[in-house]
């Protein structure tokens, strides 16, 4: 982790009609930091994430992602971030190698780079023998690991992960987090949402979003101390129990 700021938001707000999905959220994320973004269903996580990756225009407030403005530099933002969600990650009817090459191409790597990085990636994941198998034949955990590797194949400044480990078995889940640590130690900032509260502990800092407002933002240890609880889950329940909103 360095002192360089890669995400900075100021009073970021999104309203849909008279409904305020995200209300004046402000925070900073440093380079190489693993930043956990927690919240109940409907707390505004997805909306906030969509604004940060430049696919949803905020109603008011500012944010800079990798130094680019989210209002008018969304194209540059997209070049400097990776994104992976639980729902969509890979093309199931293509082989592993085809997926790798396709995504490398989408991220605008040159032909030489595509060749070099895809063989690196396949080696790192130990998929040499399966490179020409269809992705649909892979177990879920492997798909998610592959999807993550692809999300960072172009060496982005920041990678956004939306519930990346949902439904994955406990061992693969931990292997996945090892990959996250490795990416972070290479200077990639990781912005991650999760429903597994133990995973919140692996983050450098976490925020807990309740009803579109940031209710807590600190390191897991500091939060547990502040609320005098033994786990992040208890902190979460304590803060989110008071939520009024249900959608």
């Amino acid at each position: 982790m360095t002192n360089e700021t890669v995400i900075k938001t100021e009073d970021l707000t999104k309203r849909f009609g008279d409904f305020t999905a995200v209300k004046k959220i402000s925070f900073e994320v440093k380079r190489g930091e693993i930043f956990g973004f927690l919240g109940a269903n409907g707390a505004g996580k997805t909306t906030a994430m969509k604004m940060l990756i430049g696919i949803l225009k905020p109603t008011s407030g500012n944010a800079k992602i990798a130094g680019f403005d989210i209002y008018n530099q969304t194209e540059q933002i997209k070049k400097n971030i990776g994104y992976m969600s639980q729902k969509f990650s890979l093309y199931e009817d293509l082989t592993i190698m085809e997926n790798v090459q396709l995504f490398a191409g989408i991220y605008g790597l040159s032909d030489d780079e595509i060749k070099q990085r895809s063989s690196e990636l396949i080696h790192k994941l130990n998929l040499q023998n399966q490179a020409d198998k269809l992705v649909e034949s892979l177990p879920l955990g492997w798909k998610q690991k592959l999807a993550f590797s692809l999300a960072i194949i172009h060496n982005p400044r920041i990678v956004f992960l939306d519930e990346p480990t949902s439904g994955v078995d406990p061992i693969t889940r931990r292997q996945f987090w090892n990959m996250i640590y490795e990416a972070a130690s290479n200077g990639i900032t990781v912005f991650v949402t999760t429903h597994y509260m133990d995973e919140a502990e692996y983050c450098n800092r976490i925020t807990i979003l309740v009803d579109g407002v940031i209710k807590a933002l600190d390191s897991p240890a500091a939060l547990k101390e502040k609320y005098n609880t033994s786990s992040i889950e208890d902190v979460f329940v304590l803060l989110a129990r008071g939520a009024k909103r249900n959608d």
Partner: protein, 306 residues
């Protein structure tokens, strides 16, 4: 007579290119009034087992009975006595909360009034939104509505397929509290979940991985059967700690567990003091090591790597 009794069930899915054994020779029994959990990650075969038991799928081989009704022969009777909540949200999104409930009451030949006392407690939480379309509810609320719909005909056995997946911890807690109270009403409940921490809330659990049962027992027994020493290890540099612990000669497995790493050692004579000594020599002077009782997740991972 058991609520659920399944014997040697096998189910394969074949596509043109691959054949996957979703359920691989599984047998277990769930007693009446029991809260029985199927615990395992996606792809373990949980949903397939539920679909076979609710007569939606035919097994390739093996047999199963619910309250002595055979799942193949007596499918009509079974459909009268079970309540089923599928893994993905399966209500009418463009009907309101109330309309959905009324619709399913009609489908099950009953009325909301007739069994209202059973769902009253859950429905009260939904009441403020009763005129909202089901598609616009939050995750937790959707699950509660789906549960109401599955309960409306007072089923004898309730099948809940991953009711808490993707639901936030607060709603999950509430949901499990509801299940506990339903159990006191004499309803047998089979629930599946990928969240290992929910296992301790069940009377008995089956740990499932890749279509096979790793272990069936009450959670306590599973934990007490864990035959190795387990340590929770903490230090300011967690990632380096993990690497160093993995290169420790006495380590069998080591995984991150929230704020600590859980270390399983291959030698029962190793104590917390021994581990601490090793870590000090490996450059972790501030490391803390304590002997702990395993969680279900530790047990699952241990069984998985066997």
């Amino acid at each position: 007579m058991s609520a659920v009794e399944i014997k040697n069930i096998v189910k394969k899915y074949s596509t043109k290119k691959t054949s996957v054994t979703a359920v691989d020779n599984i047998s277990f029994t769930a007693e009446r009034g029991e809260l029985f959990g199927l615990i395992g990650p996606d792809g373990a075969g949980k949903s397939t087992i539920f679909r076979i038991l609710t007569t939606l799928l035919l097994p390739d081989s093996g047999s199963a009975a619910l309250l002595d009704y055979d799942i193949i022969k007596d499918w009509k009777e079974i459909r009268n006595i079970v309540g089923y909540m599928p893994g993905r949200f399966s209500l009418y999104k463009d009907l309101t909360v109330e309309e959905n409930l009324e619709f399913f009451a009609t489908v099950f030949n009953t009325t909301i009034k007739e069994n209202y006392e059973l769902i009253e407690e859950i429905y009260k939480q939904l009441e403020p939104f009763k005129n909202r379309r089901a598609g616009k509810l939050s995750g937790g609320m959707k699950q509660k509505l789906a549960l109401c719909c599955a309960l409306i005909h007072k089923p004898k056995i309730l099948f809940l397929d991953e009711p808490t997946t993707g639901v936030d911890p607060v709603s999950r807690k509430e949901f499990w509290e509801i299940l506990k109270r339903l159990k006191t009403r004499g309803i047998s409940i089979l629930v599946s979940t990928p969240y290992m921490d929910e296992a301790k809330l069940c009377d008995r659990i089956a740990l499932i991985q890749k279509g096979k049962i790793l272990e069936i027992n009450p959670p306590k027994n599973i934990i007490s059967k864990f035959e190795r020493n387990l340590f929770a290890v903490h230090s300011p540099e967690m990632f380096k700690l993990l690497m160093d612990l993995r290169s420790y000669s006495k380590t069998e497995t080591c995984f991150a567990f929230g704020e600590n790493h859980h270390l399983v050692v291959n030698d029962s004579s190793i104590s917390a003091v021994d581990v601490k000594k090793y870590l000090e020599s490996a450059g972790h002077p501030k490391a803390t090591v304590s002997n702990i009782e395993p969680t279900i997740e530790d047990c699952f991972m241990h069984l998985m790597s066997k």
